[in-house]
């Protein structure tokens, strides 16, 4: 195991932000810590890096207990949500910072910086200042700067949070490819479940300072351990008194032997169509249909319809 956390606890006054968290993060994985804001996920990341001091627990990285090691000596690459560029330094100098601190010889630094500039595709921005970069470029510079020290672990705090939608999608894919290329154990924090599902091969779902569930994204999505996890990973609707995914329900014409009700609203979202049905017990589940299924069904608001769970 690359990162092993046991009983991590952090309080701010009487407020417990991280509450007795124990988890193992496998070597070479790309793990997403997913949770709503205030769930303690960013704090967890800072506790691993040592930038925040913990009240209880142990942090072990690649077998070394670093609980009492200063963040400077933990060999951790940390990327901040707003990239934290050194604004008075060029892109090259930013990337070289960690190597200069480590007093590497000049030619070694120059070679490493050139290699990283190529890796993050910023060769033509080597002498630009952070102010001259776009958000995505700044993020890539911050990644290169963190990777320069050849960290044992890479920690990314909301890496795509401050980018606009298009750049975000592009950069997600790029980070995923970069990870496959360099294989450094990476933990990223996000509040966006789509982002987490797309990028990560491991998920940690956090809620109120605790880990609700961890494992492979698909497993968690299909077998959520708690109601919170189920609700957080995707839309749910109440059918027969329990929460189900709206795409796990299907509609048929009346008299199909299932529960019957009346259509109360239809929302068309391009390929997806959401149909809400009022049942005789007063509950109003909504069903997610594809455009084709909806067309084949041929219903309108007020139609009688029968509803059941898909097999």
């Amino acid at each position: 195991m690359s990162i092993s956390l046991s009983h991590l606890t952090k309080r701010y006054g009487s407020n417990v932000v991280v509450d007795d968290v124990s988890v193992e993060i496998p070597e070479g994985s790309l793990t997403a810590v997913l949770g709503p804001s205030g769930s303690g996920k960013s704090t967890l990341l800072k506790l691993i890096s040592g930038l925040e001091t913990l009240d209880q627990g142990r942090v072990v990285i690649e077998g070394d207990d670093v609980t009492n090691v200063d963040p400077r000596h933990r060999d951790i690459g940390f990327c901040f949500q707003h990239y934290a560029p050194f604004r008075h330094m060029t892109v090259s100098r930013n990337i070289a910072f960690g190597l200069r601190v480590r007093k590497q010889p000049r030619d070694v630094i120059a070679a490493k910086v050139a290699e990283l500039l190529a890796l993050v595709k910023l060769e033509n921005k080597a002498n630009a200042y952070p102010a001259q970069l776009s958000g995505g470029e700044r993020q890539r510079m911050a990644l290169a700067r963190a990777l320069a020290i050849e960290p044992r672990v890479l920690l990314l705090d909301e890496p795509f949070g401050a980018l606009d939608a298009l750049v975000r999608t592009e950069l997600r894919q790029w980070v995923k490819e970069l990870h496959q290329q360099i294989k450094v154990t990476t933990v990223l924090v996000t509040h966006d479940q789509g982002e987490a599902m797309e990028v990560a091969d491991q998920l940690l779902i956090m809620h109120q300072g605790r880990i609700e569930q961890d494992g492979h994204p698909t497993d968690i999505y299909e077998r959520p351990a708690t109601e919170f996890v189920q609700g957080f990973l995707g839309p749910t609707t109440i059918f027969k008194g329990s929460a189900v995914r709206p795409h796990a329900l299907e509609l048929e014409g009346p008299g199909a032997g299932a529960i019957e009700g009346a259509v109360t609203s239809i929302v068309e979202l391009g390929f997806e169509v959401q149909v809400t049905v009022l049942l005789s017990d007063g509950s109003m589940p909504w069903v997610q249909l594809s455009r084709n299924e909806y067309a084949a069904l041929g219903v309108g608001v007020g139609s009688r319809i029968s509803i059941r769970e898909r097999d």
């Binding site: 901040f80 707003h82 050194f86 604004r87 008075h88 910072f97 601190v101 480590r102 401050a162």
Partner: protein, 307 residues
């Protein structure tokens, strides 16, 4: 409103490099209103600042009385002659030594307070302690206190009858203590808001990359403070050059502690208006040079730091 929305949509996207300093004109406000504002500001500045300065310079070169009604060639000759008398007046040994004293004192005071200003601002912004409000108020005290009161206090504290046994009467050190006191708020208040605006992320990044406290301060924090420090330096210098009240008592009456401002005051006491205006003009030019160069330098540094 369309432009407004698109600006908000991508707040972190930096504008292209060449337009870093040219903000696009705001379309939310009418240009007519701004033009009226500019006229008003220009008028007010002329009345309060430009006309008195022009009068002073004209007086320094004795332009006003000697040029009226003469032909162009003659006028030119007169200006030339006046420049020579101006030069004579500002190169008298007493004038030179007064200007020199003012300059080196003010430069060193501004430099010392630029450093101390950062130290004090650092403590006020980063540290938590009980008497913070008291220190905050104390720093602004030199703004509020009439400078002659400062002079009286310093004379009784560091004068010949010093209760602490330190006699700075008629020494440059006495002048320096007075100037350090009156210029302190400029240096602290220039740096403090900038320091408070640093979110600490860059420092944390430096730390995670292996930099120690000193390294982080020197290579990450200090560069962000340079523009503010230079701005504070310029203001403190300007204030120190012009300072009169707080130093007039502890300076005594000897030549070696006569600053330019005291020298000018002494000249007016002897009705030597021409000399007084000439030395004032020289002081004005020197102060302006220091202010402009510290501003230019600050702007050059700040350009790189733009978010």
């Amino acid at each position: 409103m369309g432009t407004r929305v698109s600006e908000d949509a991508a707040p972190t996207e930096a504008p292209p490099a060449d337009s870093r300093w040219r903000r696009p004109p705001s379309r939310l406000y009418s240009r007519a209103g701004f033009a009226g504002g500019a006229t008003f500001v220009a008028g007010y500045l002329s009345l309060i600042v430009l006309i008195p300065i022009a009068a002073l310079v004209a007086h320094g070169f004795s332009l006003g009385v000697q040029t009226g009604g003469w032909g162009a060639a003659f006028w030119h000759w007169h200006v030339h002659a006046d420049f020579r008398s101006f030069w004579t007046m500002i190169t008298r040994p007493a004038a030179v030594s007064a200007i020199r004293l003012s300059l080196w004192l003010s430069l060193s005071v501004a430099a010392i307070n630029a450093v101390m200003g950062v130290a004090i601002a650092w403590v006020l912004v980063r540290d938590r302690f009980r008497a913070k409000w008291a220190i905050e108020a104390l720093i602004d005290l030199p703004f509020a206190l009439p400078t002659i009161v400062v002079g009286v206090v310093l004379l009784s504290l560091y004068g010949m009858a010093s209760p602490v046994g330190i006699n700075l009467f008629e020494t440059w050190m006495g002048l320096m203590v007075a100037l350090l006191f009156v210029t302190l708020p400029f240096s602290v208040r220039a740096v403090q808001p900038v320091l408070a605006s640093l979110d600490g992320e860059a420092e944390a990044a430096a730390k995670s990359l292996g930099a120690g406290g000193v390294r982080t301060f020197v290579s990450v924090v200090l560069p962000s403070l340079w523009p503010a420090m230079l701005g504070g330096f310029g203001l403190a210098f300007a204030r120190a050059v012009g300072e009169f009240g707080s130093i007039s008592l502890i300076a005594g009456g000897v030549g070696r502690t006569t600053t330019a401002s005291s020298y000018i005051f002494n000249l007016t006491q002897g009705f030597l208006w021409g000399d007084a205006a000439a030395v004032s003009t020289a002081l004005l030019v020197l102060s302006l040079a220091v202010l402009v160069s510290s501003n230019v330098l600050a702007r050059r540094v700040a350009r790189r730091l733009a978010p």
